[in-house]
């Protein structure tokens, strides 16, 4: 049977991992390739690289990093951060990325989703949505949750699916950084209303949170950063915990 996925997320700046990495056994704590290899060996099902640099050199550095990751890592990975055109995506996929994730650029120009899925196939188009619950309504936000839009999370998610997204990466700004668990109610609603996989993001603090987001939140995958980077949760232990909880995982 298809298993639930555990997805560590690495923040990248100028080709190096930033913040939140505390692996004592790393030779070079800033080397994304080495970190990615360790996660792959430990049983991560997929990886996400989120580029947060904003320099002119960005595109070249990122494509170069993707090439190095693809060379060494034998599990799938997604690349996101500032991707805004078909050409950007073409370069990243040709460098060896399996999927790309788009966020603000999709809100600004929704046709980009159609263009990408027509050219490269839905399976490599992940649309990331950051949303915040304000007065009982989930509102889509941009720029890492700083700028509100007029879009409702569920309406936008449905539109994104219709336009050809293969997956949705939903980050709850209310939960992100709290370590109090994922936004399972909103996740379950997304999962019920849509027919594409949903990746849960924001709020992972302990192993129970993962079990909850798979069971109550009906998520297909769960993404986290700091709990993995700071070794608060080890992936092999997480997977045996989930398995005991009755969640199907790859082991």
């Amino acid at each position: 049977m298809l298993t639930k996925r555990i997805v560590p997320c690495l923040d990248i700046k100028n080709g190096r991992t930033v913040k939140g990495v505390n692996f004592l056994d790393l030779r070079d704590a800033g080397d994304p390739v080495e970190l990615a290899q360790i996660y792959a060996e430990n049983g991560a099902d997929e990886l996400v690289f989120l580029d947060i640099s904003a320099t002119e050199e960005k595109r070249k550095t990122l494509a170069n990093l993707v090439l190095h990751v693809a060379e060494k890592v034998n599990i799938p990975f997604t690349v996101g951060g500032g991707i805004s055109s078909v050409e950007d995506v073409d370069i990243l996929l040709q460098s060896g990325a399996d999927k790309v994730s788009i966020n603000s650029s999709a809100v600004k120009r929704p046709d980009l989703i159609n263009e990408l899925s027509a050219k490269f196939g839905s399976q490599c188009v992940v649309v990331a949505i950051d949303a915040k619950q304000v007065d009982d309504e989930w509102i889509v936000h941009l720029v890492g949750g700083k700028v509100p839009t007029k879009l409702n999370l569920f309406d936008w998610a449905k539109e994104v699916e219709k336009r050809g997204a293969g997956e949705i990466l939903f980050t709850s700004m209310n939960n992100d950084g709290t370590k109090n668990g994922f936004a399972n109610e909103a996740l379950a609603k997304l999962s019920n209303e849509l027919n594409i996989p949903i990746i849960a993001s924001g709020g992972a603090g302990n192993m129970q949170h993962f079990a909850d987001t798979f069971k109550e939140g009906k998520a297909d995958a769960a993404l986290a950063a700091s709990v993995f980077h700071f070794k608060e949760i080890a992936i092999p232990e997480l997977k045996s915990f989930l398995s005991k909880e009755g969640v199907l995982v790859r082991r």
């Binding site: 049977m1 298809l2 298993t3 639930k4 996925r5 792959a40 099902d45 997929e46 090439l67 693809a70 060379e71 060494k72 034998n74 599990i75 799938p76 996929l93 040709q94 460098s95 060896g96 990325a97 399996d98 027509a118 490269f120 196939g121 839905s122 399976q123 490599c124 293969g166 997956e167 027919n195 594409i196 996989p197 297909d220 995958a221 790859r250």
Partner: protein
Amino acid sequence: MKIVIINYGAGNIQSIKFAIQRLGFEAVLSHNVEEILQADKVIFPGVGEASSAMQMLKSTGLDKIIQQLKQPVLGICLGMQLMCNYSEEGDTNGLGIFDVKVKRFSNQVKVPQIGWNQINNLKSELFKGVKENEFMYLVHSFYAEKCSEMIAETNYDLPYASALKKDNFYGVQFHPEKSSNAGEKILENFLNINI
């Protein structure tokens, strides 16, 4: 050993080249007919949409070339699907190497299937040293039906053929190049096939 990955503009083929590199071999990406015909092993990859990929193969004449190959050929993902008779995706005929139809998963399940699922009922030297129920990474909305050419089976929505074999032609729905060590083992087995 000369390994050619057919490059007809269909998606991420760099990963296959790198996986072969990790196994200690070199592969070239090519759409050159002579180069493909002379290769010891041919890999036929593909992500994207079936009818436009078929158009691409026809316009370059690669469809006829692939059908005639005598050396071991491995179709991966859409590559495997295009080796079948017909695909519902874009209502297109395929290369007709495998006598089976490719259909879309129903809406009873999430489509595409994305993630790690198990392969079982393994019946080929391709799976030497690979255990029953091993996990492979899959990304697809369409599947090949169970048939007599099936050499591995997977269950999603319904049981379907996740690997096929006919003579020198092999096809896998999963991505061996992205399926950790077990996937690399399958690629290695393919490279070791002698006909």
